[in-house]
Amino acid sequence: MSDHAPAPVTRRRFLDALLGAGLVGWLATVLYPVLRYLKPLSSTGPGGPIKLSADEATKLERERYVIVRAGTSRVLVFEDAAQGLRALSAKCTHEGCTVQYVAGESIVLCACHNGRYDLDGRVLAGPPPRPLAQYEAQRDADGSILVKLGTS
């Protein structure tokens, strides 16, 4: 038996390699579709300007600001007494809470951690690391409000 001692080792190694390769290959063919399936499709959303609905426009008028959907992101549209109609990303750059416009102080506030931005989206105080993205908002001739996506 001792003459043939190396042979089983080789066979066993081959077997282990075969099992390993088969297992890895099989796992790959199972996991690849599953992982691709689980990753949500990137939402394209509306690329062009978004138009505020009648309800949103009424809310803007009543509360001086409104938060609207643009694809999967949120946009804060507000009308400041001094600076007029403005639009900023509504997602706080700190931890993603939804910000609000505070008419009395003319600031944009994130209530989660008291992050404060000015009306151009620049950080005034608190933990936000970056300014809010700014968009162009305008009122059409017929009174409807349009927000152009893409930084102004």
Partner: protein, 964 residues
């Protein structure tokens, strides 16, 4: 430390020191599987069922990541999964395939357990838990079927849940609990969703745990007669590794099926193409069937008549039978006394085979095998064909068991064969044949006296129930009619008519009794005739309240000349007095019965003078039909009166009729052959024009007009405006025309009939100048383009009837691109050769039209075929279908462009079609690429699985080659 302990390593020692795993390992190491008597394959089926269940859970959880139950989201989310989410089609397809394969594996496992008698003590509860798992699996199938919220699942669930109401006592309650209301609605979806993803999985996990625990504790059942020197295989690793190998094979098969047949094999009950979204208001369509494992119950419900003796309803009896069979099935471990004594029990083997054959026969019948290609399968032919299949399988089973296993007990299979022969080959009703089969079985089981007594007791109970539900007594006059018998002893009023009477509302039955008391309903035969009309209760109420028609339907009361009969020929009465027609008459149904035209009152018991006052005498009626239009107009021209029936009905028919060619001939020229109201609408069977049986329903108009206009003898001597003999071939030509085929063959009610061009009450032949105006009513664009073309001027110059010049009149053929083909056959050729010869520009334009349209139409056909093939392969062809829809629409516009007779205008109109064709080609290329990717992926997966399987197989050999 022993060698095995050293091998297990530190992690095991760590766990063992805390959780004492060693005894479990010792137990598993000693666990064995008996080998050497049965084929080992039967022992793997539980494992494969478990494997498919695990796949179900995994794929089900993945589907849950996107599925959204809800009226507006359920169907849409499944559609999104299968068309948009990467590999979503694969996950759904795997889930569906695995569900079916799990049921197949489970059923095979259950039958193998039955055949091997593995349920005998001490394993009774393993059988019961297995039976419960079978019920849970069916629950999974039934609840999951509805979740895509498509048409098929909606209707199948409606039908499936509806049968629940037949369960005695709790049926209605259970129906509402299942549906979350009285009808299948979105509430049902919510309930089924909860059932499918929470309740049933929890139940399944619990029962599987108990089932596996039992198996682990008791081990696998040894054969009834173990060999003298029993052999066994170690469960770990020998059997477990084999299990693993088989699971890999199952996975490879599952993946291949999911890729190549993503919507199932396409057999009714085994298909899951999404189709259309459920619409509770859409009518059901033929061919709705439950999943294959419910087909036998579905078919059994069909085989039972609606009502059985003793007040028992058919569906109730069918469900009782199914319930009884399932209870017997669950209790087999206790019923099979031989197996309890560890003795062979061929009777139960035969019972299992007969049950399998019984289910298979019903399933084959449900698939309508041998029923022909017609829309409605021939039930007799289905029974005949499926009977041969069932008998063939029964014979094979008997021969195999007799020769191979030396069984001598075939009474159940024999009784089944008797049933199949009598039903399928002799043609007896299913139930009767079944009863005879059971009778044969009981006779053969004569020795088992107890069971005979049980059957007698059952019959006594049924008889008692029947007696308790005996019908209430009828009033004497009516009772006498119901008791009347024919000379041969058969009742004059047969069971079907008795049943009809019994189902009438109480107030209508009271009216029948009154009529019998007043002797207006004169005899049993008279009553039979009225019941046999099978009218809806409201119509029957109108009939029985009208003394005129009741009297005139009594063959013993009026002479044949004035007898209304359902079969005027047999009764030798006038064909105009057809009772079936009269009962369908719109006037009768709206309450204007005999007296409405003839005078008198429906409550009169005798004929009165009032009838003669209103209705013209027989002599006057024979002279001329000219009185009819004014007679009908008494009501139909009275707007105030007509408003009480139908506000939308016009009241100017008489005024129009007077201006029509028919009216002129009859009323002015005194030609009695000219059509009047009754010629087109009929007499005693006038239906609403919406009824397909109405003489003026669009599809019947050509035939109605043709009754005179296609009759050469009737039309002899009639002349056209130009003084030529009026042709009588219009109907024949129309039937062959594009319009005729669309209306009469395809059922397109928008296609024109005679009255669309000629008018109806004001019917006139259109003059040459107005022919094209008639066509323009529908073919607007063609008319507009023609008006701007150079042909307009030329046609006017020649006095040609625009459209009719090229397309004809009654024989307008379907326009065909080949009419523009080069050569003498070209449509343009006939006129151009004579009036504009050698016009090269015209020829080139026509050739350009022909080539462009040919290319676009060819692309359209090819892409449609390609799209269908890609859809069958499970690819998302919705974008292609949309673009092909655009192509079809644009092609129609391009064809309209021909009528401009101008190359540039035509090209402008054909451009959208060219763009749609290009887009279609791109989409097809993308789909083909996707399909190649799927095939490649499958190949890679199968390759990897083969490699792994080879590795496992070699490992197994290495393990087994070791010395014990």
């Amino acid at each position: 430390m022993s060698a095995p302990e050293r091998r297990r390593g530190r992690l095991f020692r760590w766990l063992d020191s805390r959780y004492q795993l060693q005894p479990v390992v010792d137990f598993l190491e000693h666990k064995e599987v008996p080998v050497g008597v049965h084929s080992l394959i039967w022992y793997y089926l539980g494992g494969t069922t478990l494997f498919f269940f695990v796949v179900q859970i995994a794929s089900g959880v993945l589907l849950l990541m996107y599925y959204q139950p809800g009226e507006a989201t359920a169907y849409e989310s499944i559609r999104y999964i299968t068309t948009k989410v990467p590999f979503g089609w694969l996950i759904r397809s795997v889930h569906c395939w695995s569900a079916h394969l799990m049921i197949v594996s489970l059923v095979a496992h259950m039958f193998s357990t039955l055949m091997l008698k593995a349920y005998r003590p001490p394993r009774e509860l393993t059988w019961v838990t297995g039976f419960l798992l079978f019920a849970v699996a069916l629950g999974f199938g039934f609840s999951g079927y509805l979740l895509p919220w498509n048409e098929l699942s909606f209707f199948a669930t409606s039908v499936g849940t509806d049968s629940v109401k037949e369960i005695p006592v709790i049926g209605d309650w259970l129906l509402q609990v299942l549906r979350g209301g009285t009808e299948v609605s979105i509430n049902t979806l919510y309930r089924f969703f909860g059932l499918h993803v929470v309740i049933l999985p929890l139940a399944a996990f619990a029962i599987i745990a108990v089932h596996l625990l039992f198996i682990q504790r008791q081990g696998m059942a040894p054969p009834v007669h173990p060999p003298a020197t029993p052999r066994a295989m170690k469960f770990f690793p020998n059997f477990a590794v084999r299990d693993l190998l088989i699971w890999l094979l199952c996975l490879a098969a599952l993946t291949s099926l999911a890729v190549f047949l993503p919507y199932g094999p396409g057999v009714p009950g085994v298909e899951w193409e999404l189709g259309k979204k459920a619409n509770p208001l859409a009518p059901a369509y033929p061919g709705i069937k439950p999943e294959w494992y419910f087909l036998w119950v579905y078919q059994l419900l069909k085989e039972f008549p609606p009502h059985l003796v003793g007040g028992l309803e058919g569906p109730q009896a069918a469900l009782l039978l199914v319930g009884g069979l399932l209870v017997v099935w669950a209790l087999i471990p206790w019923l099979d006394r031989s197996a309890r004594r560890n003795e062979p029990s061929p009777a139960f083997t035969d019972f299992g085979m007969a049950a399998l054959l019984f289910i298979a026969f019903l399933t084959l019948k449900a698939w309508d095998i041998g029923g022909g290609a017609g829309k409605v399968p021939d039930a007799r032919a289905v029974a005949w064909t499926t009977a041969w299949y069932a008998l063939g399988v029964a014979l094979v089973s008997v021969v195999v068991r007799a020769v191979v296993y030396r069984h001598r007990w075939f009474l159940f299979t024999g009784a089944f064969a008797v049933h199949v022969v009598l039903h399928g080959l002799v043609g007896l009703p299913y139930l009767l044949a079944g009863a005879i089969g059971i009778g044969v079985l009981l006779a053969a089981l004569g020795g088992l006296k107890l069971r005979g007594r049980g059957a007698v007791a059952l019959l006594v109970v049924l008889g008692a129930v029947s007696a308790a539900r005996a019908d209430e007594p009828l009033p004497p006059a009516l009772q006498k009619m119901f008791d009347a018998r024919r000379p041969d002893g058969a009742p004059v009023i047969p069971p079907a008519q008795r049943e009809y009477f019994a189902k009438l509302p109480d107030r209508v039955r009271a009216l029948v009794a009154e009529a019998a008391d007043a002797t207006i309903l004169g005899s049993a035969e008279h009553a039979r005739r009225l019941f046999a009309l099978n009218l809806p209760p409201t119509a029957f109420e109108l009939l029985i309240k009208d003394n005129c028609i009741v009297c005139h339907t009594d063959p013993g009361n009026v002479e044949a000349r004035t007898l209304f009969s359902a079969d005027p020929k047999a009764d030798k009465s006038s064909p105009r007095l057809n009772l079936k027609e009269f009962a369908s008459d719109v006037h009768f149904r709206r309450g204007v019965s005999c007296s409405g035209c003839h005078g008198g009152s429906p409550t009169d018991l005798n004929m009165t003078d009032a009838i003669a006052e209103r209705w013209p005498s027989e002599e006057d009626r024979a002279k001329s039909h000219a009185w009819i239009p004014a007679f009908c107009a008494r009501c139909h021209s009275d707007a105030a009166y007509m408003r009480s029936f139908n506000q939308a009905l016009p009241t100017d028919q008489l005024a129009k009729y007077k201006t029509s060619r028919h009216g002129q001939r009859l009323l002015v020229e005194g030609d009695d052959k000219a059509a009047q109201c009754a010629s087109c609408h009929g007499g005693h069977g006038i239906r609403s024009a919406k009824s397909p049986k109405s003489m003026v329903h669009p599809q019947r108009v050509p035939e109605t007009c043709g009754a005179c206009h296609a009759d050469a003898r009737y039309m002899a001597g009639e002349k056209t405006d130009r003084g030529e003999p009026l042709p009588t071939n219009q109907l024949e030509q129309y039937r062959k025309s594009a319009h005729g085929k669309a209306l009469l063959e395809k059922g397109d009610l928008g296609a024109p009939a005679c009255n669309s061009c000629h008018g109806n009450h004001a019917a006139q032949p259109p003059a040459v100048a107005s022919v094209s105006e008639v066509c323009r009513v529908c073919h607007v664009t063609n008319g507009r383009l023609f008006d701007g073309s150079k042909h307009k001027i030329a046609f006017e110059k020649h006095g040609w009837p625009e459209c009719a010049q090229c397309h004809g009149k009654h024989d307008i053929a379907k326009a065909n691109d080949e009419l523009l083909a080069d050569g003498a056959e070209r449509l343009c050729h006939a006129c151009h050769a004579k009036d504009a010869p050698d016009n090269k520009e015209c020829d080139a334009t026509a050739s350009h039209f022909h080539a462009t349209l040919g290319e676009l139409a060819g692309s359209m056909t090819a892409y449609t075929v390609e799209g269908e093939e890609l859809a069958k392969k499970g690819l998302d062809v919705e974008p292609l279908t949309n673009v092909l829809g655009e192509l079809e629409e644009s092609l129609v516009k391009a064809r309209e462009g021909i009528h401009s007779f101008d190359k540039d205008t035509f090209d402008r109109l054909a451009d959208p079609a060219r763009a749609a064709a290009k887009k279609s080609q791109e989409l097809i290329d993308a789909s083909r690429k996707e399909y190649r990717f799927r095939q490649g992926g499958l190949l890679a997966a199968i390759g990897a699985m083969s490699l792994l399987a080879l590795g496992i197989y070699l490992t197994l050999r290495r393990i087994e080659s070791r010395k014990p």
